[in-house]
């Protein structure tokens, strides 16, 4: 009995993965072919990008400050406090910036996308769109994916910048001059890290958009179904961001 249960769960998971992959391929192909639904794209870009700016800045500011605090405690006994800028920068740009901003966006935007599409399914708006001859994947999924692929790396860069500035606020309390702080930034980094800093949030953005759309379009069972779906999106997106972060980091280390 339990074996059978586990077998069923695995089969269900694989079937869903297959559907997810099919939707992702369809959406990616539709990004590059007209009509482009410019209005929908800019509406989404505004919602995703501009709408998340505040929360992402807040995340960056406090993460940068706490990182600087921790680093200074560690560095002080060695008289190496001048390296604090570099330490904050390297952890933020490679890890915390992309991951934390993506987690915030998964909670804020991923949930909203699932709720919106799920409601459209439940109220038969998706069916109505299909009857009217619209390619639903193109209009609803591709436009959101495109907006997310543009917005997410930009948001991560904002997070990094704010975090590094936040780090300086703390460092300045430890008699570190702006020049010292600034000069320590490149000491821990190489060019490849900057690629990592953009590649990670782009991939996380892909994950958030596709999971949110896949789960939203798969809603059944009325408004309760929408609620469950929203929860699923946030959990799945967050977990897969953390898992894929590990593997992307691995890949970058291999090519170092």
């Amino acid at each position: 009995m339990p074996v059978r249960f586990i077998e069923n769960r695995i089969l269900l998971f694989l079937a869903e993965l297959q559907k997810f992959a099919a939707l992702a391929v369809k959406a990616l192909r539709r990004i590059f072919s007209p009509p482009f639904y410019g209005r929908e794209f800019f509406r989404q870009l505004d919602k995703i990008g501009v709408g998340s700016l505040f929360i992402v800045c807040l995340t960056g500011l406090f993460t940068g400050m706490v990182m600087a605090l921790q680093a200074l405690i560690q560095l002080r006994p060695f008289g190496a406090t001048s390296y604090v800028g570099g330490m904050v920068a390297v952890t933020m740009i490679k890890e915390l910036g992309p991951v934390l901003s993506s987690l915030m966006v998964a909670g804020r935007v991923g949930s909203a996308i699932t709720a919106e599409l799920g409601t459209m399914v439940v109220t038969e708006q998706i069916d109505a769109m299909r009857v009217e001859g619209t390619d639903v994947v193109k209009r609803l999924v591709a436009s959101r994916l495109k907006a997310m692929l543009v917005a997410m790396p930009l948001l991560a860069i904002v997070t990094d910048t704010v975090a590094i500035s936040g780090g300086y606020i703390i460092a300045s309390g430890y008699h570190i001059s702006p020049l010292m702080y600034w000069k320590s930034l490149p000491q821990f980094m190489r060019f490849q890290d900057l690629i990592e800093a953009v590649a990670k949030p782009t991939f996380f953005g892909f994950l958030i958009a596709m999971i949110a759309c896949h789960v939203g379009l798969g809603v059944s069972g009325g408004s309760e179904g929408v609620g469950t779906a929203v929860k699923r999106t946030v959990v799945l997106a967050s977990v897969f961001i953390l898992i894929s972060d590990f593997f992307i980091t691995k890949i970058f280390i291999v090519f170092r």
Partner: protein, 258 residues
């Protein structure tokens, strides 16, 4: 029959999660013959409409629109078959991020063949038909249930279809709203549209339909005219018209034993 395309369902089976919703279901629609499919809630009436539009795929059987089996078509191929048909969904299914005017003009705006003024003129004409020209700049959330359905009718008309499907158009409306919808359906028929309605509202069904189908436990149990339906001795139909003590809680019991 008048010229125009016929629509047929042949031995269609459809199930959800192992439960059979339709079993060897046959249905035929002809231009000019306004049909109503009656049946209790949850019997699969909406499912029939969605199958006919290619929104759902049958497990087996054929669904033929203009000599073509749409069960085998891709989404792109379906667009042609759907040119003949529009649908008014149960809740209206208006796009709630768009105004009433954008909803009605949706297809024309998507296709982009017409200039904006031309689209605007058509939208106003269709909204005028349902008596809602004034609502053109409102959003669906600002409308009552009856108004939503009327906007949905205007949107369905914009595609100039031969057939218009109605999913429980009068459910949840007050008597005036019901009357409005009935009158609109009769006027549509007068303009040469063929209507297919699924409902459990038999008064409206009798007011607007020529022929009737009755679905019970996944199967078509009756097909005929109004008087044939009224005189039918089929128990399910008798009970539908005059529910008695024996119908009480039957639904609950059959659910539990299932």
């Amino acid at each position: 029959m008048a010229d125009g395309c016929g629509i047929r369902m042949e031995r269609v089976c459809y199930s959800v999660g192992g439960r059979s919703i339709l079993r060897d279901f046959d249905l035929s629609l002809d231009p000019g013959v306004n049909r109503t499919i009656l049946g209790v809630s949850g019997v699969g009436k909406t499912t029939i409409l969605k199958l006919l539009l290619g929104l759902l795929k049958p497990d087996s059987g054929r669904i033929i629109i203009e000599e073509e089996d749409i069960a085998t078509l891709s989404e792109g191929g379906l667009a042609l078959a759907r040119k003949h048909i529009s649908i008014v969904f149960q809740g209206g299914a208006l796009f709630d991020s768009m105004t009433v005017g954008e909803n009605v003009g949706y297809r024309m705006l998507e296709e982009g063949h017409l200039a904006e003024q031309e689209i605007d003129a058509i939208v106003r004409e269709k909204l005028g038909f349902v008596g809602l020209e004034k609502a053109i700049n409102l959003y669906p959330a600002e409308l009552s249930g009856g108004m939503k359905k009327r906007v949905a009718i205007a949107r369905a008309l914009a595609a100039d279809p031969e057939y218009i499907f109605f999913d429980e158009p009068t459910t949840g409306l007050d008597p005036i709203g019901v009357y409005n919808i009935q009158q609109l359906m009769l006027r549509l028929q007068g303009e040469g549209k063929t209507t297919l309605m699924v409902t459990h509202d038999m008064h409206t069904a009798f007011a607007v339909s020529d022929r009737f189908s009755f679905i019970h436990e996944a199967q078509l149990v009756f097909e005929g005219t109004k008087s044939e339906l009224k005189e039918s001795s089929i128990p399910a139909i008798r009970e539908f018209f005059a529910p008695g003590k024996e119908s009480l809680f039957r639904y609950v019991e059959s659910e539990e034993s299932a």
